[in-house]
């Protein structure tokens, strides 16, 4: 069973690199926040997986819970900050 968790953990890390691409090269700032949000939610699952690998689940579950909360607060704070800045995108025919 540990092998399955190890390989799924590695696979999750690879998926994180994929969404890291969006976080790096996202055209607008908002795309970067999508990338960061996606990485954050994957990290929470990866933490529990690592906890299972180390057979110390109760320690890692707390870390994963704290991380999920921090990720949520970070996204809220960042979106609250970015909505004041006009002209996130060069042309905005919408407004």
């Amino acid at each position: 069973m540990d092998n399955i968790f190890l390989y799924s953990g590695l696979y999750l890390a690879f998926l994180m690199v994929l969404s890291l691409y969006r976080a790096l090269f996202g055209p607008t700032v908002m795309d970067r926040m999508i990338g960061v949000n996606a990485i954050g939610s994957k990290t929470a699952v990866l933490l529990i997986l690592i906890g299972l690998l180390y057979h110390r689940v109760d320690m890692f579950v707390d870390i994963a819970l704290a991380y999920a909360m921090l990720n949520f607060i970070a996204v809220l704070a960042a979106s609250r900050y970015f909505q004041k800045r006009k002209g996130l995108y060069d042309e905005s025919p919408y407004r």
């Binding site: 069973m1 399955i4 968790f5 799924s8 696979y11 999750l12 998926l15 994929l18 969404s19 691409y21 969006r22 055209p27 607008t28 908002m30 795309d31 926040m33 999508i34 990338g35 949000n37 996606a38 939610s41 994957k42 929470a44 699952v45 529990i48 997986l49 299972l52 689940v57 109760d58 579950v61 707390d62 994963a64 819970l65 999920a68 909360m69 990720n71 949520f72 996204v75 809220l76 979106s79 609250r80 970015f82 909505q83 004041k84 800045r85 006009k86 002209g87 996130l88 995108y89 042309e91 905005s92 025919p93 919408y94 407004r95």
Partner: protein
């Protein structure tokens, strides 16, 4: 029990893959939020329930409490993910980001 856990975990990873690829391929910011939301909710639902189930392997009160705590993480992710997506979209609309229409080039 192990079979169920493996199946659930692979299903969760499948939706994680779908979400990650969807975030890359979709043309616009607003449309990219759709797979991002799916990634958070469905992917972690399956993966976290699989891990919670596996935790009940050698059953005792301690593992039961830990499994309940893992399910609490899942509940929190279910509460937090839509709110975060709403906050992002709200910030995007206020900042004047135009939604993508068919025929436009990728943004």
């Amino acid at each position: 029990m192990n079979i169920i856990v493996t199946l659930l975990l692979f299903a969760g990873l499948f939706f994680f893959t779908g979400g990650a690829v969807g975030i890359l391929r979709f043309p616009d910011f607003y449309s990219r939020l759709h797979p991002a939301g799916k990634l958070d909710t469905l992917g972690s639902l399956l993966a976290i329930t699989a891990l919670a189930l596996f935790n009940l392997h050698h059953f005792s009160i301690g593992t039961l409490l830990t499994s309940i705590k893992i399910i609490l993480i899942l509940v929190f992710v279910f509460l937090a993910s839509p709110t975060a997506t709403h906050a992002i979209v709200d910030a995007g609309v206020r900042a004047g980001l135009a939604p993508w229409v068919k025929g436009e080039e990728r943004r």
